[in-house]
């Protein structure tokens, strides 16, 4: 009780925090880009007519949605290198785990978005001479993405939160740096509180943006 808060001991280590923030942002950017791109591919594959494409994509989604991300990250870091002739570094292992997990969830968002577009849109696009691929790119996806926006920003928030799991394999990101600062300065209260506040400040605007998009979508549909 009566703890005297001393955030100066955390701010003295602002270089370590900056390095952590850079690590968090790097991992977030990689995982978001890879997760969305792969997710689109998976979503298209799951909407394919051929079972040879649809079923493997379905198995991928089920596997990655139904296992914990931390298990995937540890698997890629400790287990995968045994099967490969080279090392898997911390960034690669964390990025693989989080991106593939995110791709599975994003794939379901894309599939749902594409399916939500009325068949008449397809028929109209085909009727004016577009190929299947053109219709998808120019007519279906632009409308589907608009409907998916709240779900996608939500996914971005989840990915941002997941980047903290990389600290389990000692990848340099914000939480890992917080842990370092706490152990060097014996100030876990301030260090972890500061990290929590930092994450809250980064994510709160994204959360508000999601609410805003949801409300706007609810009104326009």
């Amino acid at each position: 009780m009566g703890h005297r808060w001393d955030f100066a001991s955390v701010l003295d280590n602002h270089e370590a925090l900056l390095a952590g923030a850079a690590g968090t942002l790097r991992l977030f950017a990689i995982c978001l880009a890879l997760g969305l791109a792969l997710g689109l591919a998976v979503g298209l594959a799951r909407s394919a007519r051929s079972a040879w494409i649809r079923l493997p994509a379905g198995a991928f989604v089920e596997f990655f949605r139904n296992t914990p991300v931390l298990v995937q990250i540890l698997w890629f870091y400790f287990a995968l290198p045994i099967l490969l002739p080279f090392e898997v570094d911390k960034l690669a292992a964390a990025a693989l785990g989080i991106s593939l997990n995110s791709a599975a969830f994003a794939g379901e968002i894309f599939r749902g978005g594409i399916q939500s577009i009325e068949p008449g849109q397809w028929e109209g696009a085909r009727a004016i001479g577009m190929t299947q691929a053109q219709a998808m790119r120019r007519v279906i996806l632009p409308q589907a993405v608009r409907r998916m926006l709240p779900a996608l920003t939500n996914r971005a928030i989840e990915v941002f939160k997941m980047t903290t799991l990389a600290s389990a394999i000692a990848y340099v990101e914000l939480l890992q740096q917080g842990r370092l600062i706490a152990s060097l300065n014996f100030n876990p209260i301030e260090a972890y509180t500061a990290i929590a506040i930092l994450f809250f400040c980064c994510l709160w605007p994204l959360v508000r943006l999601t609410y805003f998009l949801e409300r706007r979508l609810a009104r326009s549909d």
Binding site: P68, Q72, F78, P188, Y192, A196
Partner: protein
């Protein structure tokens, strides 16, 4: 070519089983406390008094917005020093995940209660029920049925999130796999078995949830997300 050998991992099956049991223990505790606390948070949030609705809204937003691992570290490393109490890894895990689930469940409760037509509450008041009675006997029973799919989805998410407890040395399934990996020098087999074990349990739960959701959809009742 690598030669797989699951022998050393299977020889420690008892460790894995004990780990799975601990995973279920944390999940179960957080689920029970989370639902009860979540209902309380939702009712406070819906209250017309700002003194009740704002603090509850604050707790809900903070726990939904910050990463679970940051919360877990805070409760394990920082809270004991702030409050001057001892925290075992289980206590830290149970506390973190209970409050965190409560924050998510509160939003589910809120959406469920909001989805029940206003007329239901008004009719209950008209026949002489007090507000709490109307809530307990008329609104909540209808709301809860619509919330079932969202509850199940959250429970499954919770089980996946509990793997984080391995980072504070609570002996859950993932921790047991890591232990076996270090003892046997067989990380590939250890983590593969752990991943498969999680998949079997969580996939089964997801399928059960899907079946219930389909049955609810077939009965023609709406659900909330």
């Amino acid at each position: 070519m690598y030669r797989w050998d699951f022998g050393p991992v299977l020889a420690n099956a008892d460790l894995l089983a004990a780990g799975l049991l601990n995973t279920l223990r944390v999940t179960g505790t957080a689920l029970v406390v989370g639902v009860a606390l979540g209902l309380a948070l939702a009712l406070l949030r819906l209250s017309r008094r700002r003194l009740a609705s704002w603090p509850s809204g604050f707790v809900i937003e903070v726990f939904r917005t910050t990463p679970p691992l940051v919360q877990l570290f805070w409760f394990y490393f920082a809270l004991p020093l702030v409050a001057g109490i001892e925290m075992t890894p289980f206590m830290a895990a149970a506390t973190t995940f209970s409050i965190q689930s409560a924050a998510f469940f509160a939003e589910v409760f809120r959406a469920g209660i909001a989805s029940v037509e206003r007329g239901q509450g008004e009719a209950a008041r008209a026949i002489g029920m007090t507000r709490p009675q109307a809530l307990r006997r008329v609104v909540l029973p209808q709301a809860v049925k619509r919330m079932i799919p969202a509850f199940m989805e959250r429970a499954i998410e919770l089980m996946k999130t509990t793997t984080l407890v391995a980072t504070i040395s609570y002996a859950d399934l993932l921790y047991a796999a890591n232990e076996i990996s270090q003892r046997s020098f067989r990380p590939l087999e250890s983590f593969t078995v752990a991943a498969l074990a999680y998949f079997v349990v969580i996939f089964a739960a997801s399928q059960a949830a899907r079946r219930v959701e389909r049955r609810l959809a077939a009965s023609g009742d709406s659900t909330v997300r």
